[in-house]
């Protein structure tokens, strides 16, 4: 009983760590004087993880470390570094973990290539399916196409008699012609 209540309290304490107040990067006292550089810094902030927070970018986090990281990024930008140089600097210092956009590398190839690969595989499957279907069913399709109006009507009656309400549905569901 004790254990359970302690568990509940611990769980509660953990939810508290999620209490955040966001958009810290808009803090006026931190801003760079040059608006273009400041805009670049803000874009970069969204790609940099606040290392001690629960999955927040340094653009959002009010943690002290996030403030330090923002200062580093702003300083680097003010010194004329490119975005890539700033990223490289951060990675050298804190590891890949600091980037919310994982760099394209051997280790991350699977991550970056999977969406396109899956899409292509799906498309390939569809093509294969259509080919097989059309090969298997070309004779059948010709027959179906040849149904006369009278046959169609008889088919509708048959289907209706089958307990399924296809006939009635068919009339409403016919694609607009």
């Amino acid at each position: 009983m004790r254990g359970a209540s302690l568990g509940a309290l611990r769980a509660f304490a953990l939810t508290l760590t999620a209490v955040v107040c966001m958009a810290a990067a808009s803090e006026p006292s931190e801003r760079l004087p040059d608006p273009a550089q400041e805009a670049r810094a803000r874009t970069l902030f969204r790609e940099v993880r606040c290392l001690v927070c629960q999955n927040e970018s340094i653009d959002d986090s009010q943690a002290e470390l996030a403030g330090d990281l923002r200062q580093i990024v702003r300083k680097e930008i003010a010194q004329g570094r490119t975005d890539a140089e700033v990223r490289a600097f951060l990675v050298a210092r804190y590891g890949e973990f600091v980037l919310l956009k994982p760099p394209f590398s051997v280790g991350n190839a699977a991550l970056w290539l999977a969406p396109a690969g899956l899409l292509l595989a799906g498309g390939g499957l569809l093509v294969a399916l259509l080919r097989r279907r059309s090969a298997a069913g070309s004779a059948e399709t010709a027959e179906v196409d040849a149904l006369s109006a009278e046959e169609e009507a008889r088919l509708a009656v048959l289907l209706a008699g089958d307990g399924h309400d296809c006939a009635e549905k068919g009339s409403q569901e016919d694609p607009p012609a």
Binding site: V19, V20, A23, V98, G107, E173, A177
Partner: protein, 660 residues
Amino acid sequence: MIIELGAFALILALVFSVLQTGLSAVGGARRSAVLAGAGRGAALATFLCVAVTFAALVHAFVTSDFSVANVAANSHTAKPMLFKVAGAWGSHEGSMLLWCLVLTGYGAAMAVFGASLPPRLRAYAVAVQGALGIMFLAYTVFASNPMIRLVDPPVEGRSLNPLLQDWALAVHPPFLFAGYVGFSVVYSLAMGALIEGRVDAAWARWVRPWTLAAWSLLTIGITLGAFWAYYELGWGGWWVWDPVENASFMPWLIGAALLHSAIVLEKRGALPGWTVFLGLAAFTFSMLGAFLVRSGVLTSVHAFAVDPTRGVLLLMMMGVAAGAGFLLFALRAPSLNSGGLFAPVSRESAIVLNNIVLSTATATVLLGTLYPLIREAIDGEAVSVGPPFFNLTFTPVMLLALAILPAGPLLAWKRGDAGAVMRRLWVALAAAAVLGLVTYGLIVPRKALASAGVALGFWLIGGALAELAERVKLLRVPLAQTWRRATGLPRGAWGTTLAHAGMGVFVLGASFETAWRVEQAQALSLGQSFRLGAYSLTLQDVGTVEGPNYLAERGKVAIVDQAGRLVCAARPERRFYPTGGQTTSEVHICPKGLDDLYIVLGERRAGEGGKPAWLVRAYVNPWVRLIFLGPLLMALGGAISLSDRRIRLGVGRRASETAA
């Protein structure tokens, strides 16, 4: 006493769910109507018992009975009544009890309203639903019991996290769970069909209403969560691709794919294996969500009631359910007949394409969410996968599906005519292109991608309207006849139109809001002001107010437009909750048409000349309302489809069967 009654009822529910599974399974296997009926009765009893437990827990919260550990940890006497009630599902234990309530509720619904199902399929499905109930109820009873008493009860409770004390978040979990767990019915029906070895058009027709209901409720649940994040967290965002958000989004995507593939199965008898697979996958993703959210294996900004030890149990339960499902699927799938031939240009092909894209999108979200774990397991490297990854991968994949969406409903089954479809859509396409170009030309700063997004949004809305116009033969027959056709349209058609247009509305809002949001922040002393886009903000006054369970500083910020007219007298607050020692921002939002003026009062600091100043942050969020309106339209579309006569076919079918 009431709590003990609730605890007893919970154990009784577990016993009944065992009976439900056993009786229904044997009843199905022996084709015994008596046993199957008893199984259904047990399903009803299970639900009633869980309902008693849940009512007992809510009662404990309402009466602030701090001798109950869960109430002591999550409630407080000074909390407003709504949040006392909502506190019942504000913790790990309570939320799992809510999960059980919904799960057994769906089981009871299947038992009561499933009369149109074939008796065997129904018996098997009720049995499988009971088996899920056994797992989750056993978990609740033995590992996560909310009815446990404290030996020495505290005088006052520890209260609920103040960020969660909000109406949108109070009702967010019930909707979310109704959606998540709704897919359990689809899972049970899929299992039932696989056990029986029959997946046909009729099966698809029984699965669709449950899928529609679950998906629509999940849509509302996710939208409420996004809306809460938008106005309560005070940073103006609504989606950050956090693991917890992704966990709710994956079942939604799979549910959307299932909705469409089930139509193909119902109308054309094609894709039975795939549709059953999606049915199993949807609930698997729901359970994955429950595990990800509560286990803490991934760091999340929404970390909720995290407990790693119990996380392992949740993972095992997911493994059992998914393992059993996919094993049975692997055994039975080869024997499933896939009928229905179709040409490359046909509605079937369009829907298969929709399914390919939605599945790829789901897999992308899954991979992105789990990749940090995968990399860590493979080479010990810690990596982060955040919003930039999803924006670069998920978004283009989805855009592909949305670009072809308007053509889908206009294509004929079996063999469509692309030329004819384009003749019906060119007006919508041209209008969308023009509106996109106008957006590109008029709105500063110029943004090509966002303008393309705006064009896509209008294309979706226009396409949906074009399809409706086609169905009612607008302008091609006399108006009276058009009116007759419109009133005679099946509700499912209205639902489709509304849902697809809702998607367009969402895309419009998302494009505008992300591209043209204006942000400004400055420390202001009383009387000082700053410019925000076309507006000017002045901090006029800051006073203190006392709420029921908090103290607050309340600012008075006057916003005037260029003509000097007062647009909004904003009253943003900064609240301090002494019970837990937390501070939160109460944002003030002034709606201006589709836009929001979004004002946040920050902390007090020393300003110029030693006068106190407050950090005021403000945003203009253009068309942000559409982001929340769009999904609501989608959910409404689902609800309207659900009310379609063809879906409520149970009564008619039964009557014809008894007559025959």
